[in-house]
Symmetry: C3
Subunit: 342 residues, 3 copies
């Protein structure tokens, strides 16, 4: 296992970045951030190259950071601009600067080769800019779990019947097979549960009187963005796959930020085609998501503990694992491709 470095990761919601120095960790790299005078977010290696003190323990002076030990000072590009007591600035007196892009109130950071940091590769959805859709940022779920298991959980329609029986699943879907399309990016796994009782989520938000047709589409964009498109419409309407916008439709977005091999932050938000601008509905949805994600967290952390123990036999693979298997294979290939030639 490893990390894909040449990729945009979510560093945080825009609201998390202000003028103060803030330390974050992504892909095992400690990073210090602040929002500069021009509004752009600066992200630097959080370690002075002299005595290794984290720069986040120093102080911001204008758009530079002064180290708290001997006053070495670095600008937003990571260049050393001052060494108290000496004039010459050695060539190795710098810190790494990370490319940053900010879109739709999300701050993205590029963790690999800066020359490849193409903003065109940022994750996007047309619904971000569509007034018929309401976007709402949720919280940051901290998981003592490696990101592969978190991602796997997010391309896995089958678990909702057992893990989320009061919110996102119910017994009606237990035996409905999962379909997958693993050819492109994103990887997709989905199923429809036709003509059954609404799940907890749509009891609350759909105002349905009878049975519904319900769908779950899981889109997993490599390496670390998942979109879960789920919704319901009256079973009588016999909704076609391509007409999902006519039902109550919700996109649950998950941006996974691997902190290290044992820790992942999952920032989640949603886009919905109902109750636009209604903060009370947003809060109610957050509450239901929080129930569901706490259920996932308990499972993912228990699995991590088991993975850290000796394994006596290889795991069993099931039909429902197809999307996950392809995802892991692709991550392995990307990590291998980034490895320097021997």
């Amino acid at each position: 296992m490893g990390f894909v470095r040449n990729a945009w990761y979510v560093a945080g919601w825009s609201s998390e970045f202000g003028g103060d120095l803030r330390a974050i960790t992504i892909l095992e790299q400690n990073i210090v951030t602040f929002r500069a005078a021009d509004g752009r977010v600066v992200a630097l290696e959080d370690r002075c190259p002299h005595r290794l003190l984290p720069l986040s323990k120093g102080k911001r002076l204008g758009d530079t950071i002064q180290c708290g030990y001997h006053g070495m000072t670095f600008d937003g590009a990571g260049r050393c601009v001052r060494i108290p007591g000496q004039d010459r600035i050695p060539a190795n007196a710098y810190v790494t600067a990370y490319p940053i892009e900010e879109r739709h109130d999300i701050v993205w950071i590029w963790m690999g080769d800066p020359a490849q940091a193409d903003p065109a590769r940022l994750f996007n959805m047309p619904e971000f800019s569509d007034p018929r859709w309401h976007a709402h940022q949720g919280e940051a779920l901290h998981l003592k779990s490696n990101y592969l298991n978190v991602a796997e959980n997010l391309v896995d329609p089958a678990h909702v019947s057992f893990v989320h029986p009061t919110t996102l699943g119910n017994a009606a879907s237990e035996n409905v097979p999962v379909q997958v399309d693993t050819e492109g990016d994103p990887i997709v796994a989905w199923r429809w549960i036709r003509d059954s009782a609404p799940i907890g989520f749509f009891k609350n938000f759909g105002n349905f009187q009878g049975t519904v047709d319900r769908w779950h589409y899981y889109y997993l964009h490599l390496p670390c963005t998942a979109v879960i498109d789920f919704g319901s419409s009256d079973a009588a309407a016999r909704l076609a796959e391509e007409d999902r916008d006519q039902g109550v439709r919700i996109f649950a977005l998950h941006f996974m930020t691997p902190v290290n091999a044992q820790y992942t932050i999952d920032r989640w938000m949603h886009l919905r085609n109902t109750a636009q601008g209604d903060d009370a509905v947003s809060a109610q949805m957050d509450a239901m998501f929080n129930i569901a994600f706490a259920e996932d967290k308990a499972i993912l952390e228990a699995i991590q503990e088991e993975e850290n123990r000796p394994q006596q036999r290889p795991p069993v693979r099931l039909l429902i694992d197809k999307a996950s298997n392809v995802y892991r294979k692709r991550i392995d290939d990307l990590v291998a491709a980034e490895r320097p030639a021997a």
Copy 2:
């Protein structure tokens, strides 16, 4: 060091096992248990072979356990009986089932090759079934110590003078040599302290007026059961070794369950030929044992910490170590014999 696997270990007192799923760890193996409808205790590997979630995080359905992640279901023999969403059950979809026997309110588990799990090898004493003897189950002492040091402490008459001066020993025994018989199983170490003041235990329970003859016999049954036969009688009676039943006699039983190389549970109980059916006496004895075992725990945990540090020279061996040395050698031989041939 290692563990003897082909042996019965105590999984717990009978009262510890009810209908709910319960996770325990023995010899580094995580195990889920429950008492089935027919009253028998089931013990399964506590890890779903699919995604490694502990089955103890799932739920019991009849006499099966359903995994909490994707609903794979296992019966009491460890066989997978259901995989939601697919009909074929792969051959490797199983969990290990551990043989269990229950006798005299104690649940025993066999940690090695099930084909060798012979109930005739269960530890037993005639006094368990003898109405002249009162049996009383004590508590489970949790020790941050490997089991070899715990066992050593339980075949060691010499330490009671120094470690348990208020309960099980006193200064009169400090220099009395220890006798041993290391030919058979159990290994035995013993000594008599004749014509001296009663120890704390027999001040409380013997009602002795003058000096007593006191004995301590330590029987260590491999790998993990210890019986300490101790008692006193009036010194004037000049009690013979074979007539110990005529004195006040207590068997303190210790069942050691190695959790891992650094952690052992010692479940202790006693059998006594006095105060049958008197719960107040049982409680008073528990209180004295608790004092003594807390003293052992402090020592054994301090020793474990030292053993985890670098050793600069081999330890000194004393005459009192003979039983312990034989015990360790036999455990080594048993562990080596279980190791697969190269």
Copy 3:
């Protein structure tokens, strides 16, 4: 990295040693100490050679220690003088005894070859015995840091401008170059800041009306003793280097005791040529030192955490590092010289 063993280290202030057994750890060695009947401090390896129980868990009997497990007893020279239950005392039944010297209310311990423990090598200063100087013992600062970084901080005049702006430094000194003399033992680094505002310390204790000349001399005695000579006098006096006694002069002494590679105790005290016998001034100075040393502690512990993480490039070296570089080189050489030949 490693430790110099053939050296005197501070085991504690004299007031820390009484009649009770006390466990300390120095250079990863666990040591039990007590003050014997003749007033001398005894220091023994804190591990019984039999079952490894720390002797500090046993009890003192006269000037011997009896092990708390089986009663083996050791005198102040580490010799076993009793084994209960057997007469013969094996040759390997001993614990290491450490040479101890006590001077000026400080207890020193020799961690290497006892034959080389020469009291003439104890650290000393004439001011200890000079009535014009007031000595005051401060506290023991516990640092989760290896001792090399602590020592480095104590031969580093440059950091005070940035780390201790309210007590020991101010902006006037930021760009004043540091001078060093690395030829002898101690290594010396120093600078004068002429004709500037007094720092916090001398606002409180010098009663200066205008600007001052201020000096900081850092003397680092290998391996682990630092003396910081700092003071101020009226700028108008144009004080010469050799006339520092005419100003307000303070020696801040630091005795570093490496506990292990990640933990150091820094016992600090001061000698001053002002306010002799004035306990209130001692307390006020302690308060200011405590502010400053807490600032150092925060930095040193953050650095230790960074050093424990992977390093991607070698650190930058600056002109201010000269004294520190020489110190580390000399420690390396001493450690290498003590290593047994292959």
